[in-house]
């Protein structure tokens, strides 16, 4: 893993890294990835991937309206709001 890749992944992750952090992460992530390489010694050609250990599939429910938390409660943790809207910086230049 190199600096270019770190910057690409940081951008995908919406995380800003300092130059020093980039250096540390290149080293640490490379170490971890080379450890993970050991999976390639296994032949998994005919093995199905596992997502849910109990083989549950999609769970559906009746489309019945139910009460939920109140509108006031939805906003108690918002940093910025106007009336019943969350306020964010300008999206379109």
């Amino acid at each position: 893993m190199d600096k270019k890749e770190i910057e690409y992944i940081a951008n995908l992750s919406r995380i800003e890294l300092t130059e020093a952090e980039k250096e540390v992460f290149i080293h640490q992530l490379s170490n971890i990835l080379s450890y993970i390489e050991k999976l390639n010694t296994l032949d998994t050609e005919n093995i199905k991937p596992l997502a849910h250990t109990m083989n549950a599939s999609n769970v559906f429910r009746e489309d019945k309206p139910e009460s939920s938390i109140s509108r006031e409660d939805v906003f108690i943790n918002a940093t910025a709001k106007i009336d019943t809207f969350f306020k964010v910086p300008k999206v379109i230049e």
Partner: protein, 493 residues
């Protein structure tokens, strides 16, 4: 002092029989918390006022001969990644510093319904990412047995609180061993139920195909009663399963005569501390004396579990943690140029370095061109690991192995080496990958006086059998009754 050393069921009995007032216990407990917290650092938030209010309510109910719940008057701590209405839930992260959940998690609601007394929210590795509780953005929890050592993690605050008698029981969460490993390092009982046994509604998501809420208690019967309360189907968690919940205390003393215990060779290889090895081998002799049979077997894909886990868990974490954008809740940066910049700065300020590392790893494994090589490959090897357990359970009833390869490690010892830290969970991760239940119980002490944990793994939904097996051992030994020699100021009785 002795009063606070009692287990949960003893305390409940005394309250219900009117030998003790719930309020007196709560007062004693908070006195102890105030004395010990500067050394142990187990709690992020304590809720003394609300706890006393609840205690008064319970005392009144008992006085009026009203019916009380299964956990009546028992003071309980909750890991700070489980939502508690109107009590802040931080995940030990700056990004959720002032987050006030507008609702209770399923398990929180159940505790309240059964008259438990919530005394506070415990420290953890940020977003439960870690094995030492050093990754918290607020404090480093210490092991009550030796404050130079970590309590394990990520439920280190819950484990330390119970071990130091600063709570009678606690809830944690276990994605790769985060209940069992700290239970082992702190000398208490930790249960990770089957994936789907306990609703995760209101548990802040980390690795959604692995996360499960578990119990930390002073003994096996306390674990049985707490699991009784939190287990069960909940339509609000689509991974919770409609399987009947048995009575966990009923027949808990049914013994282990004829039980087939599997010992996986791969768990007793290099890297296993000799004190841990000896403690487990001694424990097996006790089981044999009680009529169990030991069967040596192989779980051939064990060595791949950590690699699979750090792809699957981090891939899921990178998606789950995408929700922290500073818009609807949590920290938001003060200086942003435009919305993308706001997201990036908010997240960079809000997350600690281990969380950033894991988000980066997860996004790398899911990114275009790497998905097949990492995420898909790991998911396939996960099938092989689950098949190992399925094959083993055709010949045996349970597996016994160490919970942690070492009795403990010192604060700071592994903090700068993420890979070495990840390998702390080598014996606990496979159960999460396979979705099976596990319990860690105290089974000895190292030459340095640190507790050692033994892990018992079972088939899906066989928690009741695991509790019986654990209880049989507990009846023969007194490791669970040993207490750390904490420096308690003389003014406390």
């Amino acid at each position: 002092m002795k009063l606070l050393e009692s287990n949960s069921l003893q305390i409940k009995k005394k309250i219900v029989s009117r030998e003790l007032h719930s309020t007196d216990i709560v007062r004693h407990l908070f006195e102890r918390i105030k004395n010990l917290e500067p050394d142990i650092q187990a709690y992020i938030t304590t809720t003394e006022e609300e706890a006393l209010k609840k205690a008064i309510e319970i005392d009144k109910k008992i006085e009026n001969n009203q019916q009380v719940g299964l956990l009546a008057g028992i003071p309980i701590a909750i890991k700070d990644n489980i939502c508690t209405k109107n009590i802040s839930t931080t995940c030990a992260s700056k990004i959720l510093k002032d987050f006030m959940p507008p609702y209770d998690a399923f398990v929180t609601k159940r505790l309240k319904e059964e008259d438990a007394i919530i005394i506070g929210k415990t420290n953890l590795d940020e977003f439960a990412m870690g094995s030492s509780t050093e990754n918290s953005r607020y404090k480093i929890t210490r092991n009550p047995w030796n404050v130079e050592y970590v309590p394990g993690g990520s439920s280190g605050g819950s484990a330390a609180a119970v071990a130091a008698d600063m709570a009678f029981m606690a809830l944690g969460s276990d994605t790769g061993g985060s209940v069992r490993q700290p239970a082992a390092l702190c000398g208490i009982v930790g249960v990770k139920p089957t994936y789907g046994r306990v609703s995760r509604y209101g548990l802040v998501a980390f690795g959604s195909s692995l996360d499960q809420i578990g119990t930390l208690t002073k003994n096996v019967k306390d674990a049985a009663v707490l699991l009784q309360v939190i287990a069960g189907y909940d339509p609000r968690d689509s991974t919770s399963l409609q399987v009947p919940v048995p009575d966990y205390l009923d027949n808990i003393n049914s013994g282990v005569n004829g039980l087939r215990i599997g010992i996986p060779n791969e768990y007793f290889t290099e890297g296993l501390h000799s004190d841990v090895n000896k403690a487990i081998k001694d424990a097996l002799k006790i089981y044999e004396k009680l009529g169990a049979n030991i069967v040596y077997l192989s779980l051939p894909h064990t060595e791949y579990a950590v690699a699979v886990y750090y792809i699957v868990a981090n891939a899921e974490a990178s998606s789950n943690l995408a929700r922290y954008d500073g818009v609807r809740y949590g920290h938001r940066t003060n200086n942003a140029r435009g919305i993308i910049d706001m997201y990036s700065r908010t997240r960079s300020e809000g997350f600690g370095s281990e969380v950033k590392r894991r988000i980066m790893l997860g996004n790398y494994a899911l990114s275009s061109g790497y998905y097949d090589a990492y995420y898909l490959k790991a998911s396939k090897v996960r099938t092989l690991i689950k098949n190992d357990f399925d094959n083993a359970f055709e010949k045996i009833d349970c597996i016994i192995c160490p919970t942690s390869p070492v009795p403990g490690f010192k604060v700071g010892e592994r903090a700068n080496n993420p890979l070495q830290m990840y390998l702390s969970d080598i014996y606990t991760i496979p159960a999460n990958l396979a979705g099976i239940p596990g319990i860690s119980i105290p089974c000895g002490f190292s030459s340095d006086g640190l507790p050692i944990g033994m892990q018992i793994l079972g088939k899906h939904f066989e928690e009741k059998r695991l509790l019986q097996i654990a209880y049989a051992f507990e009846q023969e030994t007194d490791f669970h009754l040993k207490k750390p020699a904490l420096r308690v100021p003389l003014r406390q009785r």
